[in-house]
Subunit: 131 residues, 2 copies
């Protein structure tokens, strides 16, 4: 149980660093490599609102994110909680969207299977204008 939890945390932390790198740079390959083929994600707003199924859909989404935030998003990690299979990262992000300052508070919950991310749920804690 403890070993499983430790592996889950380790996999999630590595994936989160790749996720952070993707948001900052638009380079998503390392993060995409950590996803299972049957990967699913939930997103709160916009054209990807709701449940999204499959790795191809994820690839399209991350391209869309990096087009939306052309100069990248920078993250400040505040808290990490976990159990045997799930790790939640609470962070604040900041960047430029459509020429205007963008700021938000975010919780992202990764589900881990083995050494991969098999799904996540993203939640917004603010309005895109303050964090």
């Amino acid at each position: 149980m403890v070993e499983e939890s430790q592996n889950t945390l380790k996999v999630a932390h590595q994936a989160f660093e790749y996720f952070r790198h993707g948001l900052a740079t638009g380079e998503w390959n390392q993060f995409i490599d950590t996803l299972t083929d049957d990967f699913t994600f939930w997103f709160p707003v916009g054209p990807y609102h709701g449940l999204n199924v499959g790795k191809e859909r994820a690839i399209a989404f991350f391209q869309y994110v990096s087009e939306t935030f052309g100069e990248g998003l920078s993250l400040t990690l505040d808290r990490v909680t976990s159990n045997e299979t799930t790790v939640v990262f609470e962070f604040r992000d900041e960047g430029i969207m459509g020429g205007k300052p963008y700021k938000n508070r975010v919780a992202i919950s990764f589900d881990i299977r083995g050494d991969k991310i098999c799904g996540y749920r993203e939640y917004f804690g603010s309005d895109g204008k303050s964090n």
Copy 2:
């Protein structure tokens, strides 16, 4: 460490049951009793958007929530993650707002100090129309 984590989880689970009871019934006294005097909370939208400080502010907020959802909100708990001081509950909720069906996905992150909740952050994972 393990004992501290177990107490944190126990306190948070009890508080979450009082929170669920408050949302369902509009009776918030038990939940309010679990909050420290210097309690703070972050809320994503509306008149309580951002950081809210103090127990009095919390009491006003929960009254506002129960006025907004006059028939109550029912919760389905999906996942719980934790560390020594923080516990995150991911759930879906459902009710009636302004005569129309309301549904959302929510993550709420409780910070525990001793046997009390000293703060929380709420995050929305959907649009109020689907969960």
